[in-house]
Symmetry: C2
Subunit: 211 residues, 2 copies
DNA sequence: TGGGATCGTATTGTATACAAATATGGAAGG
DNA sequence: CCTTCCATATTTGTATACAATACGATCCCA
């Protein structure tokens, strides 16, 4: 509801009201609120009331910057620990991405699936539970979904190419190379997001908090 | 209870049992378990049962490595945004640390207070809610407390000196310098921890999970 | 003896009731 | 017209009951 805009930034989230709206009791609503709070999608006042957090474009930039650093780190660790078997799985995932972007009209769902698998394998090979936990709070899949449809065909193709290069870095077990590519890959995705966001804002699709 | 060793690694954490032990109902226990889980102090099976996580020395190394990176990043951001007023507050905190380590027998409590304030100010000036949230899950104050008493007087003095150097970097608004010092500062703390841990293990104070 | 079904027990998920804390609106006073 | 205070209405915190699920031991049958 937050991500769809049904609940605008700043809206109060009263447990009772949400419970009734969702047809459940307050207990599961409370748990959900706590998780959303830890993901910074919800903020709480000093007196324990919950409100929809105000995700300005600066917050998104902040999140992407941290994600670039952490995924870069993950790529470095993965390169140092890469197995031939995992490498093969990454190739499979990127072939799916390649197939999705080569179509006349990009298959965004296929792209996202392949993309998710690709990054999940890296995180798995990186073998750091904490790193995985930190990245988990940073990557809001619904955000990715909502915006991926607005990425240009060109941007999707480039993404596929960067994955190719990552595979090359992994094949050579070159951690520094993998980290550099990954960091750039995420930051490019950020700018694609920012461009798409600006475009949507101009079309009036996104309501900014300032309005 | 986990950190004191009262609950050994691998012990099952049944809500009812904990509730009775703590004299509260299951509801607050559930919330606590969820938070401990997000901090990786507790793990859950695929069928939702909770157990004390197994924090091997590798996990601690992992956490420190990530913390070094993130606090380094925070120091860089803080240097770029530093105000004279915040700088003054950091000096105050480090004077407390200085006073604590200059005593014949180090005042560990005073040291920890000053240390906490010092790092909190940096995080505040860094002005990234997400970075603060990520670091929050990484810095288990009880872990710091439990081990700080075993740090050598020499290590505490050196820590004070590194804070001095951080202040110098902040005074010059030199982000790269601040990041470098901070990263080294945390990694040094890790090795002090690892040394102390080894010493404790030899004395039999710490029971390893392997036993 | 080994593998698998089954039933009792243990544990978690959810709903609901009530207590405590907090916010709100209006009346009184300056 | 603004502030202060209080009564009332919201909202959250906790306890408890019951339902759903998972575990483990036992029994049964090759």
């Amino acid at each position: 509801m937050i991500l769809s805009g049904e609940l605008p930034a700043g809206a109060q989230l009263a447990e009772e009201a949400l419970a009734e709206k969702c047809g459940v009791s307050r207990t599961p609503v409370r748990e959900a609120l706590r998780r959303l709070e830890s993901d910074l999608l919800v903020t709480r006042t000093d007196t324990q009331r919950s409100f929809v957090a105000d995700w300005s474009i600066d917050d998104v930039a902040d999140a992407f910057e941290l994600r670039a650093m952490l995924e870069g780190k993950a790529a470095r660790r993965a390169a140092e620990r890469m197995t031939d078997q995992a490498l093969e799985r990454m190739c499979v995932a990127n072939r799916q991405i390649g197939a999705a972007v080569r179509k006349g009209v990009p298959d965004v769902v296929g792209f996202l699936e392949g993309n998710r698998d690709f990054h999940a394998i890296i995180l798995e090979v990186a073998a750091s539970r904490r790193l995985a936990a930190l990245l988990g709070t940073l990557i809001e899949q619904p955000v990715v979904w909502r915006t991926a449809h607005h990425y240009s065909h060109e941007a999707l193709r480039r993404s596929h190419g960067e994955h190719e290069e990552l595979i090359a870095a992994f094949a050579r077990r070159d951690g520094a190379w993998a980290e550099a590519i990954m960091t750039g890959h995420i930051l490019r995705a950020y700018h694609a997001y920012a461009d798409a966001h600006r475009g949507l804002a101009e079309q009036g699709v996104i309501r900014e908090a300032a309005e």
